[in-house]
Amino acid sequence: MPNRRSLIAAAAGVAAAPLSPWRRAEARSTTPGVTATEIRIGNTNAYSGPASAYAVISRCHAAFFRMVNEQGGIGGRQIVFLSYDDGYSPPRAVEQVRRLVEQDGVAFLFNTLGTPSNSAIVRYVNQRRVPHLFVASGADKWGDYRQTPWTIGWQPSYRTEAQVYAKHMLDRNPDARLALLYQNDDFGKDYIAGVRDVLGDRFDRVVRAASHEVTDATVDSQVISLQASGADALLTATTPKFAAQAIRKVHDIGWRPLHFLTSVSVSVASVMQPAGPEKGIGIITAAYNKDPTDPAWDNDPGMNEWRAFMRRHMPGADTTDINYVYAYGVALTLMQVLRQCGTDFSRQNIMRQATGLRDLEIPTLLPGIRINTAPDNYHPIRQMQLQRWDGTTWRRFGEVIEGTRV
């Protein structure tokens, strides 16, 4: 039987021996994840858990990069796309991102999903100076180029969307008074910020806001008090269940405001049908992607390109799911960044090119929408087009509207 002393000696020997794994990674001066033949890209998504409907985005990316590799890769390099499951849980997102950055040595992160998950990792990636490109979340904070210069969003933020609504409202009626129903969280508050951007000092005079908690049973009392304020426009910035309640209540109490509805809650199946399709007639929302179910795009060259991709590389996938359109668009944006990198795939240059996109047109975005970024503009898409509910479907109208620059 081994005695105590020999065990301690053995333990000390093991402990003192190799410190090497800690230093090896730091010693290389080139960009991690970039070799002469490959470039490694990291991604997290909710393959399991409540948000797993979004997992198709990363599956689409994987298929997209396979296609790129078949066509010869980028800058002579093959793309290695590593995507892990975070179950939409912030601690697991931290774990998976550390695995990608430290273990797999990816060059950068791309389109990581979800506001909670990205909030958990944003400080880590910025401390490590890992490019954190085109975050899959509509929160406005990904555009904060001062605090988090290594993180950039992609889609129009909720704040941009609110700016678009406020602009349209003032176009229709410069003296309009706005009622704002919002969910009391980051998501809802982004809409307040957006309306404030457009109205400036007039905000307090023009806007009457009422909030609700996700835990509330209904928003009926908020709707009633907002009607009593005498507003002639209403912006509903809340999640689907409450949006359906609000639409029904507004109609039932006989209020007929110019009604804007957040693009988060425009699902026909989970909002418009439960609310009663006829009760929502005239409601306005905003979009930036081409809707794959809209017959207007049946012969659209851009959407045909997407359909051809889907047929060849994602056979059997549900082509009415707009998440595939989103994924294709954001992947094309990344390809432009990598092309602009030329031969310099250093992290600095990747970030420089991601924030140096000029009037980029993506075939799956609505006509007129262009992607622009700059070292002081981390909001790639700032334009949206309005659409109105006609009782059966959403119909686009008017020109593309650009959010204000703040």
Partner: protein, 344 residues
């Protein structure tokens, strides 16, 4: 890992007094095993990559959380589906003290334990009137409520609301030539070991016997003069305090707390970890902690299409193969070994 050594130490502690020599020898073997386990764990700090250490740090935290749940559910028979709430309470206590008051990490630990222990004591009272399924539902509702309470406007300035709070992991002392990840791993390991020792000490003594007696036959226990109410509420408080400390350890490892980190899934996950490790087992909690961290990743590496389904299949397989959890197979193995020893 340290599962088997602790398990065997427990078995040797329970050995009969009729064979003092054999018992002394067993104790020596158990001690040697424990020491070897500790040596391996400490050596890991210098052999494994920072990422693997981070995973082990998380696993150690979860193991302590499961230990807390095990006191309440495994040893005392009170089913709790809400231990994620205590985990959150501990995590937030540490995060708030570190961000708003600049406390050092170690100083927040006692407060985190006390705060979640107090919460557990309060929850322990309804537990007196509610048994079985009703208690399970009560604690479950606590777990459901916690993420929403954390977002509440009244405390938003403290909790950071939906945004959560960032905290920085402690720097190693200047005289030690190690990285922050290594330091945190070793600190967590030491704290977890101390908590495991304390829990082991608790359950094998008078109080532990009372806890088990109340679980197995409350009427008989009461007739024997045990104060059911006191034991139950205090067990709940102790279990909650342990889980709260685990939350503090987990929060500083992840360096971030947010309401979405503590959804009801966390409570369920801890419960799963406890059952997999083995209810009413101290060493089993370690296996449970490792299970929580590593099996979802294993499931994902098998299939990205449906990691949840793979996880479920793995879980069912495991319960089929190890009906008593990891602790069950551990006890069986130890019993076999001892018998062979005795026959020689």
């Amino acid at each position: 890992m340290s599962g088997p050594p602790i398990g065997s130490a427990r078995a040797s502690g329970a050995a009969g007094p009729d064979a003092p020599a054999a018992s002394r020898q067993r104790r020596a073997i158990a001690f040697a095993l424990l020491l070897a386990g500790a040596a391996v764990l400490i050596a890991s700090a210098f052999l494994l990559s920072p990422f693997r250490l981070f995973q082990l740090t998380l696993a150690a935290g979860y193991a302590v959380a499961i230990l807390g749940l095990n006191l309440v559910t495994g040893y005392n028979g009170q089913i709790s589906l809400g231990h994620g709430a205590f985990y959150a309470a501990g995590a937030y206590t540490t995060a708030i003290l570190m961000t708003h008051f600049d406390w050092p990490f170690w100083a927040t630990l006692p407060v985190a334990g006390l705060a979640s222990g107090a919460l557990g004591y309060a929850v322990g009272f309804p537990a007196l009137r509610l048994g079985g399924f009703y208690l399970a539902l009560t604690t479950f509702s606590l777990a459901v409520a916690v993420p929403q309470i954390l977002k509440h406007r009244a405390i938003e300035d403290w909790t950071g609301g939906v945004q959560g709070l960032f905290i920085a992991k402690p720097d190693p002392p200047a005289f030690l030539p190690i990285e922050a990840d290594q330091w945190l791993y070793l600190t967590t390991l030491a704290i977890s070991a101390a908590l495991f020792l304390a829990a082991w000490n608790l359950v094998r003594g008078r109080i532990g016997r009372a806890m088990r007696a109340i679980r197995d036959h409350p009427v008989a226990a009461e007739a024997m003069g045990m104060d059911l109410a006191a034991v139950k509420t205090r067990t709940f408080a102790a279990g909650a305090a342990l889980t709260g400390l685990a939350g503090a350890l987990g929060a500083v490892a992840v360096e971030f707390v947010a309401p979405d980190s503590f959804t009801v899934m966390l409570s369920i996950t801890l419960f799963v970890g406890m059952v997999v490790g083995g209810a009413a087992s101290i060493g089993g909690a370690v296996v449970g902690g490792l299970f929580i961290v590593f099996v979802p990743n294993l499931a994902e590496s098998i299939s990205k299409a449906a990691p949840g389904a793979i996880y479920g299949v793995l879980l069912i397989l495991l319960l089929f193969v190890l009906p008593g959890g990891a602790a069950g197979i551990g006890r069986l193995a130890v019993a076999r070994l001892w018998r062979r020893d005795g026959g020689r």
